[in-house]
Symmetry: C2
Subunit: 314 residues, 2 copies
């Protein structure tokens, strides 16, 4: 992590992912305190690959605020980075269940419930969510009142983003829009599709960037900038997700493609067409860049990460 800004984005991604992978393994409870089967199930899903976008956003935002790199930023940011990945992973486990998306392939491997059954999959997801907040409250272990205040602020942001007014709320609307809740179907208009995506995917992405900035001690004006930047990147991420569901390669994505169209789910591509969806994603990136310029935050990995989110193929 030394001198990251003199290196390339690829180096930052590789280095930070290595730190995150080590911390994910270290921060997960293990036997004998945690039952062997639950430990196996959590590790199967959590350590089964993935882009680690949300942890990268935590670390990049913390780094952007700290304007320096090294152990201190990582020590402050890694618990939150791992916590948002715990939460993201639990949401994938639950989304894949037969009662929701009924998916059997995730990150190129059989989904957790196909391996251990629905009961253990539900419980592994539940445990990952609880462990996320236990971790954020516990680490970094510090008596410094400033660090304690940052922890509470970060927990508040991440928990709100994960729950009823964020990720889970968006997933409820998504289930309704897909006609999967008898008697409670919803027809989405373009504004309500945007609102649903801002909750379902955008909220946790935004909270990842905000959580990193909070842990690094951001000022209110910086938090506002990171908040708006994270909102644009979150929306861009979901639009690109919809594009990849149409154009993407199942092998590269490690999950089933064409599911949205097959399930008659409203998406950016179904509502706006492929070309307009691509233009909308690019517009998010342009607005995100402008926010960084305005707040003198271009001297960071945030710009390059936003571009990577748009250009990704998986």
């Amino acid at each position: 992590m030394t001198g990251v800004r003199s290196s390339t984005l690829a180096t930052f991604l590789v280095d930070t992912r290595a730190h995150v992978e080590g911390a994910l393994d270290r921060f997960l409870p293990a036997p004998p305190d945690c039952p062997q089967l639950l430990s196996e199930a959590m590790r199967y899903s959590l350590l089964g690959g993935g882009k680690r976008l949300r942890p990268l956003l935590v670390v990049a935002a913390a780094d952007a605020i700290a304007r320096r790199t090294g152990t201190r930023v990582l020590e402050l940011a890694l618990p939150t980075a791992c916590a948002v990945e715990f939460i993201h992973t639990y949401s994938l486990i639950h989304d894949d269940l037969p009662a929701m998306d009924n998916d059997c392939l995730r990150r190129g491997r059989p989904t957790l419930h196909t391996v251990y059954g629905d009961g253990i999959a539900i419980l592994a997801g539940d445990a990952l969510q609880g462990e996320a907040f236990a971790l954020m409250a516990r680490e970094p272990n510090s008596d410094d009142p400033a660090v304690t205040a940052r922890k509470v602020a970060a927990i508040r942001v991440v928990a709100s983003a994960a729950a009823a007014t964020g990720m889970v709320g968006g997933q409820v609307v998504d289930l309704q829009a897909a006609g999967q809740v008898p008697g409670h179907a919803l027809a989405l208009t373009p504004p309500s599709l945007r609102a649903m995506h801002l909750q379902k995917t955008g909220a946790l992405i935004r909270a990842s960037a905000l959580g990193g900035a909070l842990m690094a001690g951001a000022e209110p004006s910086q938090l506002d900038a990171i908040d708006r930047w994270g909102t644009e990147v979150g929306l861009a991420f979901q639009i690109v997700d919809d594009i990849l569901d149409v154009e993407g390669d199942a092998a590269a994505l490690g999950k089933t493609t064409g599911k949205d169209a097959a399930g008659d789910k409203p998406t950016y591509t179904s509502l706006f067409g492929l070309e307009q969806a691509k233009a909308m994603a690019a517009a998010c990136a342009t607005r995100a860049h402008a926010i960084l310029v305005e707040h003198n935050l271009t001297d960071s990995w945030l710009d390059a990460i936003a571009d990577w989110v748009i250009a990704r193929r998986n």
Copy 2:
């Protein structure tokens, strides 16, 4: 709440439950921020009655530490009190799912998944867990570093108790012991039955008492006492639960009885017999009382609550 110790336990229970019911309603997210259907589903389960044992333990432990009553203790304790009830309710919703206990009756009403389907039930549970930690981080809204430090400590205790090394871990072992995880069946010995119960039910009950004590600013020696007291009460609660599954009245309990025996689940009554199980519950109460005497905490509702846990018929 004025002069509670000069009144009866019944008055304390009625008054505190009224405060808790009001706070549960107030602290739950509502439309338009939260989708209407999710709000309905969370409220259906959360506001559908229940003993509110865990919130009562939070308030009683906070009151015992504060050695006084009134608004300040309630203001500090109610968010944690509601958070543990959010968590308890989410665990009931998920436990009742067909993939776990497959129960259709809870608190005298149809279980959530029978009303809204499994997908919404999973999501309502997920949202309640996330909201619990959002609430504990948010309330009471205070800049006082002492309150902030108590919040982080309480979140850590409650989240750990709820997750892999606590409630969810115990539920995994319970599923395995009931033979519901093909290829991962477990035979429980008396010590491992005790360990499973300490995790599954005991951990959150203990954390409720500890969380209340922490929010009231308990000293380390008091925390140790409340910790040990909560462990005894949690174990007693589960032993009585097993007894009521054999002896209880389904109408009073509001849930199906005889399920454990029918499911061939190991319980205190199946392993030790009814009479010895009753003696074990009484022994927990005796040890719990001795802890309060030792730490000069008998001038509180804790003793009477422990007796109520043992004597309850539902």
